[in-house]
Assembly symmetry: C2
Homo-oligomer: 240 residues x 2
Amino acid sequence: MSPKQQEIRDREERLLDVAQVMLLERGYEDLRMDRIAEVVGVSKGTVYQHFGSRDDLLAAVAARSAATRAALFERAARFEGSSRERMAAVEAAAEVFFALFPHHEQAERLVRAAHLSPKISPERVAALETCTQRCFEVATRIAAEAAASGDLPLREGQSVGQLCVGLWNLYQGAFLMRDLEKFMSDPSVDDALGTLQRNARVFLDGFGWRPLSTELDYSEARERALNELFANEAQAAGLL
Amino acid sequence: MSPKQQEIRDREERLLDVAQVMLLERGYEDLRMDRIAEVVGVSKGTVYQHFGSRDDLLAAVAARSAATRAALFERAARFEGSSRERMAAVEAAAEVFFALFPHHEQAERLVRAAHLSPKISPERVAALETCTQRCFEVATRIAAEAAASGDLPLREGQSVGQLCVGLWNLYQGAFLMRDLEKFMSDPSVDDALGTLQRNARVFLDGFGWRPLSTELDYSEARERALNELFANEAQAAGLL
DNA sequence: GTGACTTCTTGACGTTTCGTCAAAAAATGA
DNA sequence: TCATTTTTTGACGAAACGTCAAGAAGTCAC
C-alpha cells in the first residue's frame, strides 16, 4: 500500500474517532461536518470523500464499533466450559463492550431512527447488519448446542432464536437504563450492568438451562472469561 | 374556555397528529416545520407558538403517546385476578400500545438520542419522564404485592425494581425487533409480540412467580384483559 | 355597536449547515 | 522532468431552522 493510501486510511480512522467523541459529548445535533473537518485538519470536501453524507458518517461510527462487538462475541465463543458458562462468557463480552463503547448505542439508535435513510450507503447498512448477525450467531450456536446436549430443555413453542432475542433485549435494555437511571429512584437498579447480569440469570433459569444459577455461581465463569479472554479490555473498562 | 382557546387546543392536537404521521412515514429528517404548517394550514410562526423548536415538537409527540401508555397501564392495574395474572394484564396493555402507536418508540428514542437537547422545554421532558414512572409504578405495585403475599419469592439480591426493569427491557426490545425482524431469518421470532409474550413468561417463571406458566395458561388472562379492559383498543389494533 | 387594547398570525428575512464542484495542488509514473 | 491522474480545497447554492415587526383578529367595557 502506498504511503498516500495509508495516510487516507489513517485519516478515516481519525475522522471516525473525532465524530465518535463529538457524538458522545455533544449529541447528534452538534455533530457538524465543518467542525469535524477542522478538528482533523482537512477541508469539508475531503470528509465527503470518505463519507457520502452526515448520516453515512454516523453509520460508519456505528458500524466500526459494531464490528468490534462482533469480534468480542466471537472471542467469547472460544471460552471453555459448560454450555451455560459459555453463554456467560458472551454476556461478559457484552459487558465489556457496554463499558468500552458508551457512544455505540446512541449511534445505532440514531441510524435506525433515521429510517435507514437513503443517504446512508447500502454497504454501510449491510456491514452494520452483518455485525449484529455475527453476534446472534455466536449466541445461537451456544444455545443450540445446549439444546442438543440436553442442558437446555426447550418446551413446546420455545426456540433457541427466542432465547437469543430475549437475552439481546435485556442487553440492549441496559443501554436504555443508563439514560433512565437518573430518573429512577430505586437504588437496587442503579447499576445497569449488575441488573443485566441478574436478569440474564433469571431469564436463563426460566428456560431451565442447567446448571441453574441456584446450582452454580456464574460470577466465577464471568470473572474467568474477563481474565482469560478480555484481560486488557476489562482492565480498560474498569471491570477488573 | 373561549372558542378561540378551544381552536388553539384543537390545532395543537392537529399539529401533533400530522407530525406523528410524518415521523412514522418519512422519518426524522423529513419532519419539516414548514411542511407541517402547510398541511395543517397555518404559518410556520404559529407552529412555533405551540412548540419552541423542532425537537420540542418531537418531544411533544412522544409525551402525548407516553401519556396514553401510562393511562393504559393504569387501566390494567384494575384487573382482577392473581398477582401474576394482573401483571399479565399490564403486559396486555403494553401489547395494545405497541400495536396502536408504532411511531412512539422512534419518537422517544430520538428524544433521548438528542441528548435531552436544551431546545426541548423542561416541562416536556418532565412530562415524558412522569409517564414512564407511572408505568413503572403500576408494575412495581403489582410485583410488590406479589412479593408480600408470597406469590413471588425474591431471592438474595433480587428486587421488585430489578424485575420491572427486566420486563420493561423485554418490552422495549419488542420495538427493536420490529426493525430487526426484516434481517432475522429465524421464523420463530418473526412475531415481535408473540416473542415478547413468551419471553416475559420465561422471565417471570425464572423468578418463580406463582403460578408458573407451566401451571397456568396466561393466554386466558391476557385475552380476558384484552376483552374486559381494552376491547375497543384491542379491536382497533387487530389483537382481537 | 364601537373603539381601545390585547392577543394571535403571518411570511419575509437572517443564520446556519449540508452537500457540490470547478479549480488548484499534490502524487504518480514513464 | 513533465503529462496524467488523483486528491484537496473552500466558495457557493440550496434548504431548513427560528425570529420578529407589522398587520389581522379577537376581547371587552361602555
